[in-house]
């Protein structure tokens, strides 16, 4: 049925976000301590795929630029249609012509995270226009067994990620770790097509996730909104770093969801490789 439908590409325009703060510089961390949030959106330097989500003292920092749009409805479309692995090209500014790739999406008002080569990032500034060649929503790989859903992936990407059919009815995924549902945070109850799911993890919790890792969370169904469903599992790509805010943490953009009998997450704490700069040709 849907396997026969071919995906359509749509060029979208995003603007490199400028960070925004309110009248007070402070947010309050889980211990009640005020802090000034750094790295929450906008253009972040010094962070790359493969770095630990706890590598920097920042709030929701993502490796690259966050794209938004001034029109709220256009911003939602930018986020909903963009998929991990989509190509992006800088249209204005000193880095015009530079090519990057979508590495994730974030919720709330919506942001698309795009990775570029460090030399290109260094020449960019907030307000630069970036065109995203969006493609992937609605695409269903022909080999994907019935009962499993994929989302937020460029059609070319599944073949490059450590995801494959393992039996007639099942898919296997290499992941850094498998987490319990009680650690699902901000993003619950929100649409998986446009939000990430924050994982309530701190640096001392024994899960050293890295940006770009695949990670699984048990008993979460992410086909539509994300929420608890016993016996299911959702796999996502870690797209931003940790946060001092209670209920927040490293965020994963969901890519795969289904019953645990059909989605087999294989934890590989030391050898796992997920979304990398090499895979996206961002060296």
């Amino acid at each position: 049925m849907s396997a026969q439908l071919s995906a359509v590409a749509v060029n979208l325009l995003g603007l490199v976000e400028h960070p925004e703060l309110g009248d007070s510089p402070y947010r309050i961390d889980a211990d009640g301590k005020p802090y000034v949030p750094v790295g929450d959106g906008g253009l972040v330097l010094g962070l790359a795929l493969g770095d630990s989500v706890f590598a920097v003292d920042a709030d929701h920092a993502a490796p690259g630029v966050c794209l938004t749009h001034r029109d709220e409805a256009a911003r939602h479309a930018l986020v909903l249609y963009s998929c991990i692995g989509n190509q992006a090209e800088v249209r204005t500014g000193a880095a015009a012509g530079a090519r990057g790739a979508v590495i994730g999406k974030r919720g709330e008002n919506g942001r698309v995270i795009v990775g570029f080569r460090p030399a290109d990032l260094a020449r960019m500034r907030p307000g630069d226009q970036v065109s995203v060649r969006s493609r992937g929503q609605g695409h269903r790989p022909a080999w994907l067994p019935a009962g499993i859903s994929v989302m937020n992936l460029d059609p070319e990407l599944p073949a490059k990620l450590p995801i494959s059919q393992v039996e007639d009815h099942a898919v296997g995924a290499s992941v850094r770790t498998v987490l319990p549902a009680r650690l699902a945070g901000n993003g619950l109850g929100r649409p998986a097509a446009g939000w990430d799911l924050d994982l309530q993890l701190g640096a001392g919790d024994g899960h050293d996730l890295r940006l770009g890792d695949l990670v699984a969370i048990d008993d979460i169904d992410a086909r539509f909104n994300m929420g608890f469903r016993g016996g299911w599992v959702s796999v996502g790509i870690v797209v931003h770093g940790s946060s001092p805010l209670p209920g927040h943490g490293p965020g994963m953009t969901p890519i795969l969801t289904g019953p645990r009998s059909q989605v087999v997450a294989r934890p590989d704490r030391d050898g796992h490789a997920g979304l990398t700069a090499g895979l996206l040709q961002l060296w």
Binding site: G32, R182, N186, L188, F224, N225, G227, G230, L245, H248
Partner: protein, 292 residues
């Protein structure tokens, strides 16, 4: 022994608001747990027929808000209304046929939720003006320094059974205990705004969605395991948050009946007593009763 507090040092602030209409968009449908599209009422306006003590789930409704849903039309004033209003604060109707009626706050949900008697609620509609006597933010328990009070009026603290135990713990009576897996939308938000939706209470849907919470009632005092809501809402092993169920049935996935946060601290600072009468209906929301 009732827990000692700084209640005598709190001031009341008079706030205004109006009954706010339900809001929808032209696309109508939202999506349920199995992908089912739905159009269901419950949020905003005046929701009739459901009060404290009634079942929270089991209605053809989404984000059921019992009674009147109140906001202030000015955005900044509205945040003051949402943040400063506390559970059991008195709310007076100031316009329309229900003018003079006194209701009581049962929680927040991006609206302030006010329970009235059914007869009073039947005369209310969107646009009716209300006055809120807000008191409770800043409330502290003098002998329970590790417990932070949230959205709880001195009147509610006084009415709730339990108190300071000889061993120094705070005894709290609860109608239900909530596992950490049930915490849904609202996690990661500040504790003074809206509430925490509980998953696992989708009456009539699949067993794999259930966490055994279908029998919660509006107004139930509940204990949420491994929840630290002292400075925002999040998971923390070994912590506990006491809340009051202020919203009911949801069809939207990842949402559900929701507690507003009242008390939060280390689990070992509390002593819980399971008590089916631990519900706002046991103490408030009788017509004309004036509560701080």
């Amino acid at each position: 022994m009732k827990a000692a507090s700084n209640a005598d040092r709190l001031v009341s602030q008079v706030l205004t608001g109006e009954v706010w209409p339900p809001l929808a968009d032209r696309h109508g449908y939202r999506v349920g747990p199995d992908g089912q599209p739905f159009v269901l009422p419950g949020m905003g306006g005046v929701t009739l027929g459901v009060h404290c003590g009634d079942q929270a789930a089991g209605y053809a409704s989404d984000h059921l808000e019992p009674g009147a849903s109140v906001r202030n039309a000015d955005p900044a004033a509205n945040m003051a209304v949402q943040f400063l209003t506390c559970v059991s604060n008195a709310v007076r109707v100031d316009s329309g046929p229900a003018a003079g009626a006194i209701g009581h706050v049962i929680g927040q949900h991006a609206y302030v939720l006010v329970d009235f008697t059914e007869a009073e609620a039947a005369q209310l509609t969107a646009g009716d003006a209300v006055t809120i006597i807000a008191v409770g933010q800043g409330l502290r328990l003098l002998e329970h320094q590790s417990i932070v009070v949230k959205n709880c009026s001195p009147g509610l603290l006084e009415a709730m059974p339990g108190g300071t135990m000889p061993d120094g713990r705070l005894e709290v009576h609860v109608a239900a205990r909530i596992p950490a897996e049930a915490i849904g939308a609202g996690v990661g938000m500040i504790s003074e705004y809206a509430n925490t939706d509980l998953m696992g209470a989708y009456a009539g849907l699949g067993d794999d969605l259930s966490l055994g919470l279908e029998s919660l009632r509006i107004g139930d005092i509940v204990a949420m395991a491994d929840q630290d809501h002292r400075y925002g809402r999040g998971y923390r092993a070994g912590y506990l948050t006491i809340g009051v169920i202020s919203t009911g049935q949801c069809m939207l996935f990842g949402h559900g009946p929701g507690p507003s946060s009242l008390l939060s601290g280390p689990a070992d600072a509390f002593s819980l007593v399971d008590d089916p009468d631990a519900n706002l209906a046991s103490w408030f929301h009788r017509a004309g009763q004036d509560q701080r």
